[in-house]
Symmetry: D3
Subunit: 316 residues, 6 copies
Amino acid sequence: MIVAFGEALLRLCPPGHQRVEQATTFEIEIGGAELNTAVGLVRLGREVSWVSRVPDSPLGQMVRQRVRSLGVDDSHIINGSGRQGLYYLEQGAAPRASSIIYDRADSAMARLKSTELDWPKIIPPHGWLHVTGITAAICPDSVRAAIAAAKAADARISFDLNYRSKLWSVEEAGRVLGEMIPFCDLLFASENDAKLLFGIQGSLSEIAERFQVKSIATMRRESQSLWRDRIHATGWHDGKTIQTEPIEVEVVDRIGTGDAFAAGVIHGAIDDEFERSLQTGTAMAALAHTIPGDLLLVTKDEVDAVMKGAGLRIRR
Amino acid sequence: MIVAFGEALLRLCPPGHQRVEQATTFEIEIGGAELNTAVGLVRLGREVSWVSRVPDSPLGQMVRQRVRSLGVDDSHIINGSGRQGLYYLEQGAAPRASSIIYDRADSAMARLKSTELDWPKIIPPHGWLHVTGITAAICPDSVRAAIAAAKAADARISFDLNYRSKLWSVEEAGRVLGEMIPFCDLLFASENDAKLLFGIQGSLSEIAERFQVKSIATMRRESQSLWRDRIHATGWHDGKTIQTEPIEVEVVDRIGTGDAFAAGVIHGAIDDEFERSLQTGTAMAALAHTIPGDLLLVTKDEVDAVMKGAGLRIRR
Amino acid sequence: MIVAFGEALLRLCPPGHQRVEQATTFEIEIGGAELNTAVGLVRLGREVSWVSRVPDSPLGQMVRQRVRSLGVDDSHIINGSGRQGLYYLEQGAAPRASSIIYDRADSAMARLKSTELDWPKIIPPHGWLHVTGITAAICPDSVRAAIAAAKAADARISFDLNYRSKLWSVEEAGRVLGEMIPFCDLLFASENDAKLLFGIQGSLSEIAERFQVKSIATMRRESQSLWRDRIHATGWHDGKTIQTEPIEVEVVDRIGTGDAFAAGVIHGAIDDEFERSLQTGTAMAALAHTIPGDLLLVTKDEVDAVMKGAGLRIRR
Amino acid sequence: MIVAFGEALLRLCPPGHQRVEQATTFEIEIGGAELNTAVGLVRLGREVSWVSRVPDSPLGQMVRQRVRSLGVDDSHIINGSGRQGLYYLEQGAAPRASSIIYDRADSAMARLKSTELDWPKIIPPHGWLHVTGITAAICPDSVRAAIAAAKAADARISFDLNYRSKLWSVEEAGRVLGEMIPFCDLLFASENDAKLLFGIQGSLSEIAERFQVKSIATMRRESQSLWRDRIHATGWHDGKTIQTEPIEVEVVDRIGTGDAFAAGVIHGAIDDEFERSLQTGTAMAALAHTIPGDLLLVTKDEVDAVMKGAGLRIRR
Amino acid sequence: MIVAFGEALLRLCPPGHQRVEQATTFEIEIGGAELNTAVGLVRLGREVSWVSRVPDSPLGQMVRQRVRSLGVDDSHIINGSGRQGLYYLEQGAAPRASSIIYDRADSAMARLKSTELDWPKIIPPHGWLHVTGITAAICPDSVRAAIAAAKAADARISFDLNYRSKLWSVEEAGRVLGEMIPFCDLLFASENDAKLLFGIQGSLSEIAERFQVKSIATMRRESQSLWRDRIHATGWHDGKTIQTEPIEVEVVDRIGTGDAFAAGVIHGAIDDEFERSLQTGTAMAALAHTIPGDLLLVTKDEVDAVMKGAGLRIRR
Amino acid sequence: MIVAFGEALLRLCPPGHQRVEQATTFEIEIGGAELNTAVGLVRLGREVSWVSRVPDSPLGQMVRQRVRSLGVDDSHIINGSGRQGLYYLEQGAAPRASSIIYDRADSAMARLKSTELDWPKIIPPHGWLHVTGITAAICPDSVRAAIAAAKAADARISFDLNYRSKLWSVEEAGRVLGEMIPFCDLLFASENDAKLLFGIQGSLSEIAERFQVKSIATMRRESQSLWRDRIHATGWHDGKTIQTEPIEVEVVDRIGTGDAFAAGVIHGAIDDEFERSLQTGTAMAALAHTIPGDLLLVTKDEVDAVMKGAGLRIRR
């Protein structure tokens, strides 16, 4: 059983490439970094429990239903006061970048007290805990408690830096995350975040050494445009740097693709197949670009097909 | 020039009679008690300035654009920090009542400081100030400042009780509103609010006497259902109680109908035609039931037609 | 073979009960008085040719496709210069009447020259010609030529007054229609039009006598509201006045219901069953109220079911 | 734990009151008699497992996700060959009845073999089994096996006749259902079905006597129209006939209202409160009329509010 | 007169790039290999009759209306029992291929008996018959009867292999099609199908020799992606291989593009202009990529413009 | 204060890449060459008044609301008789060009009399007048009056040739525009128009010399496709030719991009920074490609970001 701990936001997006100011309808999606990864792992056949706190309202109900529908265990989601966090998304087109307006302050999750969740009961022995810097920003004490419980249960820990400047300062994030990373078995770190938070410019090995992390993975994109991309993965494991073949993608929805990558890598890492885990992650991320919404609605067969380079003929 | 002071919320509503939990899109409207009244007054030919504080974001921009498009003066809207308040609306059907989930805490308007607006400059001599209990709950000091400035400018004041239990307690509201009402020239008070806030059960005259208000108006509905209604107005003025003929309505959208009533009554009250003002208010409220969204998109001709009982044949 | 002669307009309607000024999309329908009747007759099993002139553009193409799809013969539709006439429709709700903004000047049909159509070839011997006052306003000479050809072919003629004040004055309409009606075998005349055009206030017999018309039919509604109605028919034939039982209707779309009535009556009149023709007309009109758009998409079975009072249980 | 056994169909419905022949989009819902009841029971706080067979395809996946999202246990749903059954729905308006076109032959459920489900393991001791005549028509042997297992487990059984003429003849249905009913503890039987299948015209007591059923419940409607209705329940229990107060409803969606009624009655019957069970059933059915789709998305609070006659004011 | 014989399916497609499992609406199109070709030929100015069997239901009515609206003759479409075949389409994006789920078993067409159609009356002397391997799989005897009648009427025959693995095995298809092809004047064969069915790997000439076919045409694509493509045609005629210039396409909808190619080639082949026929076919296929739905809604002018390389400036 | 003088059309566009003939809805936008430029200038911080004549109808109201909402001054828009001009837009995909069907004859603007507008009052001293060849075609006398008033007020004048063949002949346009251009300070001229109207093939300097214009600007595109483009600007000023760096664009909506270019160039020209004005114009045009509708809904920050080459990372 994998435990993913984080918040789900309601995503409100004007149709097509409309701007928020001209919108008369919003399309609704549910997403959240750890939840996206949880869904991806379920699609790969894993059992995952998503731990969160949602408001006691139809919006919290909406989140819980979506989680349950996708086969993610909801038994450790707690209901409580506070609002449903949300974000507004404008889909861009070159040279106009996509943009996100967050409205997540004082959410049910932000009000989570570190005593509300009984971590030793939540994390099973020899399980896996996945968490990101977003949750660390919102509920640092709960993340510390979760990490401690994971260590006590001999569970492995994966951590995605995911620095969000709206949530905390670089200094604060660097300090808090710097304390958490040494407990990780698998770290997801973009070059940007590594540089911003820790001043690390160079190779992944530098991060590995600094924080004594066994495995590091990062997804890279060569954005020629917003509608097409080419992605590949770089990883560091057991002292070696590994690269995957790039995959060409046509972009339907960019949100959540890093989380899909994490799902693929964790899936492989559980079985201690690191090289294959990077390939799975790249394929997962590639597919995530082709699906509307944050959540990765693919089948294992489709992931395998991408990994084999199965081509683009209509499947009948 | 009429000055209306209040907040606009973003209204998110699932299409048709869908529940929020099953929605995949939200229809977007903009509304707010005083803004709704402002728009109604512009439709009747008045000049109105709507005073508010909106977030410095595409959402605040959306609000401002809507206000401007409808011919309401926006020169006293200020931009600032804080979020865009919003509410989720579920349209009901008998026996399921419609329901609203507010998400308005910590909005740009809620962060308004009483020193941010220069009321003596905003309210013109012999003008008119309109405000409701909602704004009084959110920014009581600013409302007090506005009332003081109105009095100083020899402007008349209309006030709509509009008690919202999510914003404040009955006790708090009764105390604050009880201090403000005596300054009003025209009070809008539902029976429910009068009873709840001031323990006044009986006729409007009792309120008038207690608070020394010259004119009181209230809209009443005989809700047999959510899709049809029959509305009429009762008013108290110069010691007399006045009733209007009821109007049958087919209900497209119930939100903002009380504010439309207020617009009609204020319009008449400005010209000191109280009986006609109630009739105009009833016609405005009736038409407001037939238009999607909070805002009253009617023409003066249509209001006149309803007041004359012009019938339902297609206008070609 | 029945020949219906008239114009089709593009109908642009904001969704739901939106006003045109707030619309961001229009729903598209095709309609026209004689075309609506033609479609109704095809549904009852008759062969009908609709004669018209449409613009040489994708919009004219759209009209022709719709006509063809519904099994109406299009072999006498001619293409030509001029624009596609259109109208904007706002669906009302009590007490706000529905309203229509016409934009039909200088249409392809309005440019029809009376020599463009070879009426003796179009109207078959012993056939039936149907036309309305709308076409008489737009192309009076062509209507005269059609009537002459019908008479020469021993075809019967039905005429629906359908006075439209935007197209011509009462005086002009009264004069032109007054000359045409005596050639009719079956006249559709609302009380309103009879009074307006000919000053006839009383019973249908007065019209019959004045213009020497054999049969007259009129649909009446007891509009308590825009969403519910009760309709019945009154007819005059062979010196007798006939009434049908009223039918309760829930109103989805009111446009074209009079044309559906005409279809039902003509259908019966062809077989010289006048009383039944009124019943069929009432049933057709009732069903037309329940279908979005101008065109009557029903089956003969459904018409029979309404005439038998078959009830409202779900048909599975 | 309640066990509901049946099939879910995909429902394809043109928007608004469009006819299928004019549709360019279909709105998608999932529904099925026993599933609808299962969802209603979950909403009332019961644990329910829905037993079915769904196709091994994205459509079967869609069904399973919907079931899971609503908190219904899916652990006894099996995947298999065969198609996803579906039906097309046209929403009517008086005098045009709504109509359904079924397309369910050779579905995954229709291919269920009676040996595929291990009923003794599915039905817990002292549990409850709910099934309808629809499932009895499609998989009679499996229904017999389920009933036998329920009896063996000392579970109670509820059965809804739900005769569907497209699935089997009156004779066949009468014979098969006649054998099953005597095992029921609670029977749902419309007057229509009782008469059609068993020639029973009179009171519920006659059915009770004939089949030795302890409790019978039926929902009755006084359909004045398709958009408004008044419903109440009649029950027979312990030799007494019981009636509930009628509830006025505004109809958003009629499909699944009988199944919602069954949920309410079963909920009460489990606690042996028969009179209250009828009231709960009526309230559930009333609410089901107000919600788009087959499935009953209400809260327990809303059911209580209807039972108390809480009124139609907006809930804020 | 060209006779096209085949089935039309209802196509249900989630909007945008949604997956079926997440869809809440389906967009509806009508399509079928031979029907698509028929529509393309009508657009090029040919008279075409489409022969098929459709269900006696609103769905069959929908198909017939669509056929008629596009100017295809429907006088040989027969109504009958059986369901409306359908397919679900998921539009992909690289690296996720588009996918189709067929649901066409036991359709009205599949129930066609070879005696139901009077082929000698359907196929006019010196006419043209077009059919594909799909129809050969569903109604082999009827195809044989049609071919025989065509031969007897001295009509030419075109055949598109169109192998569908869900309909029959490679062996069965190879055997049946192998007997039919020798009667063809014009064969459409993809490299894939040629290899799969007949083990022919090489050039088109090998097929021509094996089956004694005069003309063979095939469309080729260089799929770099799902949203852009470059297509050209290769043909074999009179012992010569011919190639067309490639055309760059932006892909709106890929379905039916091969059928559009066939329409263009048949159009030229009727006039015995084989080289031009390939160019027309390529232009038709290119345009078909740009139009939503299976059916080719273009004008002759647009086809000519593409053949002349007219450029991409807005046509005003 | 900048004064822009022109007409706004209603744009009716089928969703996605649908053809008009298959549409069942139209998406509504408002646009017009000078209005588009006016909106762009407001976005850059300028004060702009748009001068026009709109119909006295909900459609004219819709135009006025849109203008007002975007912060453009509407105090010189007059209401009057005549229809609302409109155009139908089909969005193409290579090799199918986009196409526009105009329906603008006899619009309210076309009925503008040159005496209706008091130009000396409209154009402020030392202001700026912007007008295009479209307005010159529709209301030549009013354009002459506006130019005269501008000259008298010492205002600068910008003119965009914008030749539309549907409005007037090349000869007529060449003659009328040839007389107007010499009064311009800044001319926008595409190579195509320059050649067509004045037979000028070569460089911009030739136009400058012929008409004694100080500054000329033109936007150029290297259309490889309809969905991607690369644009840059060429200008001629003070005897020098200037080029901007090309910008890669992903095309959401091409309409109004030339007008956005004009806005950027005028913005710079007002401050006498010609080189920068071309860069601003190119950035504005690039952004205009990414926004649905004719109107340029961007922020000054976004324009600056494009000019700095800020990249495509999501802005959070």
